[in-house]
């Protein structure tokens, strides 16, 4: 299927229809034909992006087999939060929420370009504008993709796909009109995060009872810090690669106006170089970024489990105390049992989740690394052909 994404570039007042190869970049999902979700269309207005979420299903829990609803980024966030807050899913890795669409940087660049128009030749300007538009589109494309991936991961999860909120999200054909978090809530969630990280530190002191989790914990902690680093560096790298590509644009434009007859080569080279940069960005950085988030999610799971463990231990202590005082023994026993149950359940599903996460990660890395290598080769070959052509052209005249 070739889903199309419509987008309105606010500055360029151009309505671009672009093809998005919407097959997930970062995750390889075992597609369950019973629930297929994609975002065929998205409309960008100012800061808001309206996604059209299209669902195709054979499940009887849905009223129709095929339907589309308009959704905004905030709706996705709401869905994610709802899932995270559901007690029952504590033992699951909740797919990371899609990041907020960021059109600021291309927009800013566009603005800068407008300011610098006077210093550039017309050709250079058009070229830069084209390039920025392409970048804008790429950002847009990426945004659509991460939202789509979020939904697809939910739909392919045996438990999460049955979630009521998820189904509402997919099916309810009116505007969900979820409230945006107000200031207090934003602060609240910020505070919650603070508590969580403080808690994490405390809990990390607790002796792990299960080797598997112990290992996973150290691995994930280590891995997450490293992948964070890699992501940052990959971003830096692609950014400087983009700079190089931009330089080529300027150079080729200037060469053009210098009327040196051999600029065609460099100009085409520019395009290729730019594409290398954006592909690199798309493949590698996205992969890393996604897994950075995913690992965060896994870490959250571990945190929740550790929390449960701590609770269990606390309840044990409480029970001991109660027994000592021969007071409220049954109540304490009950609580201790609950905690144990919860912990066991969490551990069990956590184990399952983490194992599948590992497999998923490896598969995704493989896919993306292969694709990236292939793309690099493809671009390099393109470049070579171009350069060779140019050199021959130059030598002949």
């Amino acid at each position: 299927m070739g889903p199309r994404s419509r987008h309105t570039a606010q500055e360029g007042d151009t309505l671009c229809l672009l093809e998005i190869n919407a097959r997930s970049v970062s995750v390889d999902l075992n597609n369950d034909a019973s629930l297929l979700i994609d975002i065929p269309d998205a409309l960008c207005e100012r800061d808001k992006v309206k996604f059209t979420v299209h669902t195709k299903t054979t499940l009887s829990s849905f009223q129709k087999p095929d339907f589309s609803v308009p959704r905004q980024h905030e709706d996705f966030i709401w869905l994610h939060d709802a899932l995270v807050e559901t007690e029952d899913y504590a033992g699951l890795i909740i797919p990371p929420a899609p990041p907020k669409p960021d059109f600021e940087s291309p927009r800013e660049k566009m603005h800068k370009l407008g300011e610098g128009e006077a210093t550039m030749t017309k050709e250079e300007y058009t070229k830069m504008k084209q390039e920025l538009e392409a970048e804008y589109l790429a950002v847009f494309k990426k945004t659509v993709q991460v939202h789509e991936v979020f939904l697809q991961r939910l739909s392919s999860h045996p438990i999460l796909s049955k979630d009521r909120n998820f189904q509402i999200f997919l099916e309810y054909d009116q505007d969900l009109s979820v409230r945006r978090k107000n200031a207090k809530e934003t602060f609240g969630s910020f505070f919650k995060n603070m508590v969580k990280s403080a808690d994490e530190v405390i809990i990390s002191g607790i002796k792990e009872v299960d080797d598997f989790f112990e290992q996973e914990k150290t691995f994930l902690l280590d891995y997450s810090s490293k992948i964070k680093d890699s992501t940052a560096r990959a971003e830096k790298m692609t950014r400087s690669h983009k700079n190089v590509a931009d330089d080529y644009i300027h150079i080729s434009a200037t060469l053009n106006s210098l009327s040196v007859d051999d600029n065609t080569a460099l100009k085409k080279f520019t395009n290729v170089e730019g594409r290398v940069a954006s592909d690199e960005e798309l493949k590698l950085t996205e992969l890393l970024r996604y897994y950075m988030l995913d690992i965060q999610a896994a870490k959250d799971l571990l945190y929740r489990r550790a929390r449960a463990l701590a609770d269990y231990e606390n309840s044990n202590k409480a029970l001991d105390k109660a027994r000592l005082k021969s007071k409220d023994i049954t109540q304490a026993e009950e609580h201790q049992q609950q905690c144990l149950q919860k912990f066991d359940k969490l551990s069990e599903s956590g184990k399952r989740e983490l194992t599948s996460f590992k497999g998923r990660r490896v598969v995704a890395f493989r896919k993306n690394l292969i694709e990236m290598a292939e793309l690099e080769i493809k671009h390099a070959k393109n470049n070579m052909a171009l350069l060779q052509g140019c050199i021959e052209l130059l030598k002949s005249n």
Binding site: F219, D222, Y223, K226, I227, D229, S230, R233, A234, K236, M237, R239, S240, H241, N243, V244, D247, Y248, H250, I251, T254, L255, S257, L258, V260, D262, A265, F269, K358, R361, V362, F365, R366, L369, I370, A373, E374, E376, I377, A380, K381, N383, M384, L387, Q388, C390, I391, L394, K395
Partner: protein, 719 residues
């Protein structure tokens, strides 16, 4: 194409001049002068032309000879009668001679000089001329013999006159190989002369002479002069030099003397009539025009080529500017390019000395088959300031004539200090290499220029072992500061001068050049930023590689872990690749641009020079206008006593105006030629460099493919 043209040209120019008279000397001179303008003269000139092989010789030798002999000698002779300025002149001539201090040379110098200032010398000058002029009626009988008889005298003038002006050494040294060297040397001589006349106080003369006396070529000098002193057969020493065709040359030599004598006479008479100052640029013009015609023929060792054409274009160029000129020049230039046989390389930069007095010395190796050099391969050591010194010399000599003198790389105090301090790090090594390459390109540009290659300073620079230290290189001393001020005033006058351009070509070209300059500067900035960004990319890639390696080490899936460390390796190589590419960006591309930004500066300087000569011409015209007005006023006021003075002034300024106009035309022609040459070279240079650059890109892409292809199976092996 017709020698008679030049003859009549000379003749016609003598006419008005001979009219104005300075009594006693003029009587002597006017006679042959007017005779020179008569038909027989023309016949005489025709003869050698028809003889073919001898003709070019005649032209070449006659031009400078007459010019050289006329200028200082005539001044010596004539000036005393007219102005006080002649006194220092004589002193100037004498002074260097005594400074030269080699006994025979001094004698030689003194002898003719003193002779010159006395009547006998006049006779010497007159004799050949009048003899020749008497001859024509029966030239069929034995012109050669006659001419031979007369030779010594006229020939005497050549060396003697040339002597005070640095020329002789080269003159005698190089005659066999490159005839065209002569007009150019007289060119130099001319410059000096003019400046001497302008500022008699400056002892410009002593310098070249002193140099000449130090010169090994001194020997030639003496040798050549010896027979002169004896006033015996000139052919002796000259034929020593002409190894190839002694007999031919012999006759040529003989022929030479003929027109030389004639032109001497005509010039003399001219000088007589008008201020000598005006005379010289005139001759100068001819000399340079000849130069531009001759220089491309440096491949021609025999004098047998189609030389008769030389005199004809000479006046036509100065008169009718340049339409046909560039074409022929271009054609000739093509020849030069084809036969270019000079390779210069700069290698082995080496630090000499320690501390702040340390400097880098470079090995300058020349490989050539050009006969103008003494051997086929030779090497000298030069330091940076020597290169700057060479530029200063060349620029002083050639820029005023509208030539585009390639500029050397800029002084870099930062870079050099680093080298001096002795930091053996990358950046200083890069700096040295960058400079080495820049110097090499600079020198190659210089020797690639057909006219600059002929400059004795260039040859000295390439050949001479003990190069005198260049002192006034910019930024070293006050001289640089003075230059700066000069430049400032130049640009100021540039702003104030509003030239109403008569030639659209120049206007368009100047605009083109200016636009190009802008573009190149912009491009240079961009390439610099490209280099910067690529370096950044390289660093970031390296960082990423390390990070990925770490990630790989903590990855628990072994296959993925291996793939990641492979990826890290690939990225590591990419880092290298980017680094290399950045280096090639800057070496292939940025340096080229920097070169051309500097070169465009020189191009603009030549345009400015043209403007300056134009301005001078205009000023002279205004002056003439004023003089005419004064005359009219005087006429009206009926003041006959001052009228004569006013009339003299008018003639004087009229001559100046024509002279300056000719100057302007000449400089215009040169500039046009130079710009065309420059453009051609630029196109070639850019093409070459861009191809080189693209190839470097191509190579890095090939590497890239190799790396990724090696990586691909690793990625696929992840299970």
């Amino acid at each position: 194409m017709d020698p008679s043209l030049s003859a009549s040209d000379i003749a016609s120019s003598t006419k008005p001049l001979s009219e104005a008279s300075s009594p006693p000397v003029m009587d002597l001179l006017s006679e042959p002068a007017s005779e020179a303008s008569s038909a027989p003269m023309v016949d005489l000139l025709m003869e050698p032309a028809s003889e073919g092989s001898s003709a070019p010789m005649v032209d070449i030798l006659s031009e400078p000879a007459s010019e050289a002999s006329s200028a200082p000698m005539v001044d010596l002779l004539m000036e005393p009668a007219r102005e006080g300025s002649s006194a220092p002149m004589v002193d100037l001539l004498m002074e260097p001679a005594s400074e030269a201090s080699s006994a025979p040379m001094m004698n030689l110098l003194m002898e003719p000089a003193s002779e010159a200032s006395s009547a006998p010398m006049m006779n010497l000058l007159m004799e050949p001329a009048s003899d020749d002029l008497k001859e024509p009626p029966k030239p069929d009988i034995d012109p050669l013999a006659d001419i031979l008889n007369d030779t010594p005298l006229s020939e005497v003038k050549t060396p003697v006159a040339a002597m005070p002006q640095e020329t002789p050494s080269d003159l005698f040294d190089d005659e066999p190989s490159e005839l065209f060297a002569e007009p150019r040397q007289s060119n130099t001589a001319k410059q000096q002369q003019t400046s001497i006349f302008d500022e008699p106080d400056e002892d410009l003369f002593s310098e070249p002479l002193g140099e000449a006396s130090k010169n090994p070529q001194n020997d030639f000098f003496k040798e050549a002069l010896a027979p002169v002193a004896k006033a015996s057969n000139v052919c002796g020493p000259l034929s020593d030099n002409y190894n190839e065709h002694p007999t031919d040359i012999f006759t040529e030599e003989a022929m030479t003397t003929l027109p030389s004598a004639v032109s001497t006479v005509s010039v003399n008479s001219k000088t007589n009539g008008v201020h000598s100052d005006e005379e010289e640029p005139d001759i100068f013009a001819e000399a340079t025009v000849e130069l531009s015609l001759d220089s491309p023929r440096n491949d021609r060792k025999k004098k047998g080529a189609a030389k008769p054409s030389a005199p004809a274009p000479a006046p036509s160029v100065s008169a009718s500017a340049s339409k046909p000129q560039p074409k022929t020049l271009e054609e000739l230039e093509e020849e030069v390019e084809d036969k270019f046989e000079l390779n210069i390389s700069i290698t082995n930069p080496e630090k000499v000395g320690d501390g702040m007095n340390a400097y880098m010395a470079y090995k300058v190796s020349t490989q050539t088959t050009l006969p103008m050099f003494r051997s086929k391969t030779f090497t000298v050591r030069r330091r940076f300031s020597d290169f700057l010194g060479l530029y200063e010399k060349l620029s002083d000599k050639h820029t005023p004539n509208g030539y585009i003198v390639p500029p050397p790389p800029e002084k870099s105090i930062m870079g050099m200090t680093k080298v001096k301090v002795g930091k053996e790090d990358n950046s200083s090594a890069e700096f040295v290499e960058r400079r080495r390459a820049a110097l090499e390109r600079y020198l190659q540009r210089v020797v690639f220029h057909p006219s600059l290659l002929q400059d004795p300073d260039v040859r000295e620079f390439l050949e001479r072992d003990d190069m005198p230290r260049a002192h006034n290189t910019q930024a070293l001393s006050g001289a640089g500061f003075l230059k700066m001020i000069n430049r400032a005033t130049d640009s100021l006058s540039k702003m104030t001068i509003k030239m109403n351009e008569s030639d659209v070509w120049f206007e368009e070209k100047l605009q083109e050049v200016e636009a190009e300059d802008q573009q190149l500067r912009k491009l240079h900035i961009m390439v610099d930023s490209l280099v910067g960004h690529r370096k950044e990319l390289s660093v970031n890639t390296g960082g990423f590689a390390k990070s990925v390696a770490m990630l790989g080490s903590s990855e628990d899936n072994t296959a993925l872990s291996r793939a990641l460390s492979q990826l890290a390796e690939v990225e590591d190589k990419m880092e290298q690749l980017h680094q290399e590419q950045a280096a090639s960006d800057s070496f292939c591309f940025a340096e080229l641009l920097a070169d051309y930004i500097r070169l465009l500066g020189s191009v603009r300087a030549s345009f400015d020079q043209r403007m300056k000569t134009w301005q001078r011409w205009q000023d002279a015209q205004n002056m003439l206008q004023k003089k005419r007005e004064t005359e009219a006023k005087l006429l009206w006021a009926n003041k006959p006593d001052k009228l004569q003075q006013a009339k003299d002034d008018i003639t004087e300024w009229e001559a100046k105006v024509t002279q300056y106009e000719r100057d302007f035309d000449r400089v215009s022609a040169t500039v046009r030629k130079e710009v065309l040459r420059f453009e051609k070279e630029k196109a070639r240079d850019f093409k070459k460099q861009i191809i080189k650059y693209l190839e470097s890109l191509l190579q890095s892409q090939q590497q890239l493919i190799k790396y990724w292809e090696a990586f691909l199976p690793e990625a696929k092996a992840i299970a």
